[in-house]
């Protein structure tokens, strides 16, 4: 089974039915899988903070949301995470491509990679790092944990997890 399919299976099994995305090359497969599933309403956002607003509304409307985005978006969403998701105590699983780690071909990506965990830590956001494919075995538990505690939770997925960047 492809890793993208496995991830989306876990989301569906945990009743996640409203997913917003802003693409990253690494996330193309999982976004495609989200788009294909009938159980999921996929709503692409133009900016990740906008996406988090959509997720807040969806959750208050009775749906379990999730956001799929690149780690650079942590820089875009700090205010929203603090003043909306955390302040009103709302759950939000964040599946994040962790660009700028080992095997990264684009130097600029490293500039936000070096801040990613520090920012998440500063925000007291529970953070999990998927480095090997088997790490995704914890996704089911992470999703249950997120909707148990009503917090934003970060799942960082690096290039090794996704099997590199393909031919370059």
């Amino acid at each position: 089974m492809s890793i993208s399919k496995k991830i989306v299976d876990d989301l569906v099994a945990n009743d996640v039915s409203f997913i917003t995305t802003v693409p990253c090359k690494q996330l193309a497969g999982v976004i495609e899988e989200v788009e294909e599933r009938e159980e999921i309403f996929h709503i692409p956002a133009n900016k990740e903070d906008e996406g988090m607003g959509l997720c807040a509304g969806a959750w208050m409307g009775g749906k379990r949301p999730a956001i799929i985005m690149q780690n650079t978006a942590i820089g875009v969403t700090i205010n929203t995470l603090a003043t909306l998701t955390q302040f009103y105590r709302m759950p939000l699983p964040m599946l994040i491509s962790y660009r700028g780690e080992l095997r990264e071909p684009v130097a600029c990506q490293v500039e936000m990679a070096v801040h990613t965990k520090a920012l998440l830590n500063q925000l007291n956001i529970p953070t999990y790092h998927f480095h090997k494919e088997a790490d995704a075995d914890e996704l089911d538990a992470i999703l249950k944990y997120t909707f148990m505690c009503n917090k934003p939770v970060a799942i960082l997925t690096d290039a090794s997890f996704w099997g590199g960047y393909g031919d370059q």
């Binding site: 133009n46 607003g53 959509l54 807040a56 509304g57 208050m60 409307g61 929203t80 909306l84």
Partner: protein, 184 residues
């Protein structure tokens, strides 16, 4: 009319609907004029009233009115294409366009200069976009509700504020009360 006068006039229409209200003075005014469990007051996060309202409308059947400001829509302009392409006929976006950042002291916005949010919304693909004058807001809002079509209303009004207290309710209480009203 200024924003608080519009809110006072449309309060009887709002009280029967789910309302997501913009940060700052709009929320404080609505809270003072007619506090309802069906009101979600934003205490921060400028720009996301329209997004929260759209997410809510897409996730359940009750009608949702997002009350937004021109400055806040300008800061989250990406919301308009998302609204246009994800039609929810139980969703109304009411932009109170006073041409200023009212809550921070009436600094002018570009919406009060060359930029028309009505034209922007139309260009983004929104189908029912109505621009009206402040005095007609109630009439236009009621018509939008009756039409059962997703509608964007741009209500042009004067800038100006009244003195009133901040909201001291706990955000989790606001949110929980609102969710109970949504689910009821």
């Amino acid at each position: 009319m200024i924003r608080s006068e519009i809110l006072r006039e449309i309060a009887p229409i709002l009280r029967d609907q789910l309302v997501v209200c913009n940060i700052g003075l709009p929320s404080q005014e609505l809270h003072m004029i007619d506090d309802q469990p069906t009101n979600f007051y934003m205490l921060g996060t400028m720009g996301l009233s329209s997004s929260i309202g759209l997410g809510l409308a897409l996730s359940q059947d009750k009608t949702v009115i997002s009350i937004d400001g021109d400055g806040s829509v300008l800061t989250n302009l990406g919301t308009l294409p998302t609204i246009a392409n994800n039609v929810a006929d139980n969703y109304i976006l009411l932009i109170i366009d006073n041409g200023s950042y009212g809550s921070t002291g009436d600094q002018p916005t570009y919406a009060g200069m060359k930029t028309s949010l009505t034209a922007v919304a139309k260009a983004c693909g929104c189908e029912n976009v109505v621009e009206c004058q402040d005095v007609d807001t109630g009439k236009v809002l009621q018509a939008a509700l009756d039409s059962k079509k997703m509608t964007i209303i741009v209500s042009k009004c004067d800038s100006g504020n009244i003195k009133l207290p901040v909201i001291t309710k706990d955000p989790v209480v606001i949110r929980d009360r609102f969710m109970t009203a949504v689910a009821s």
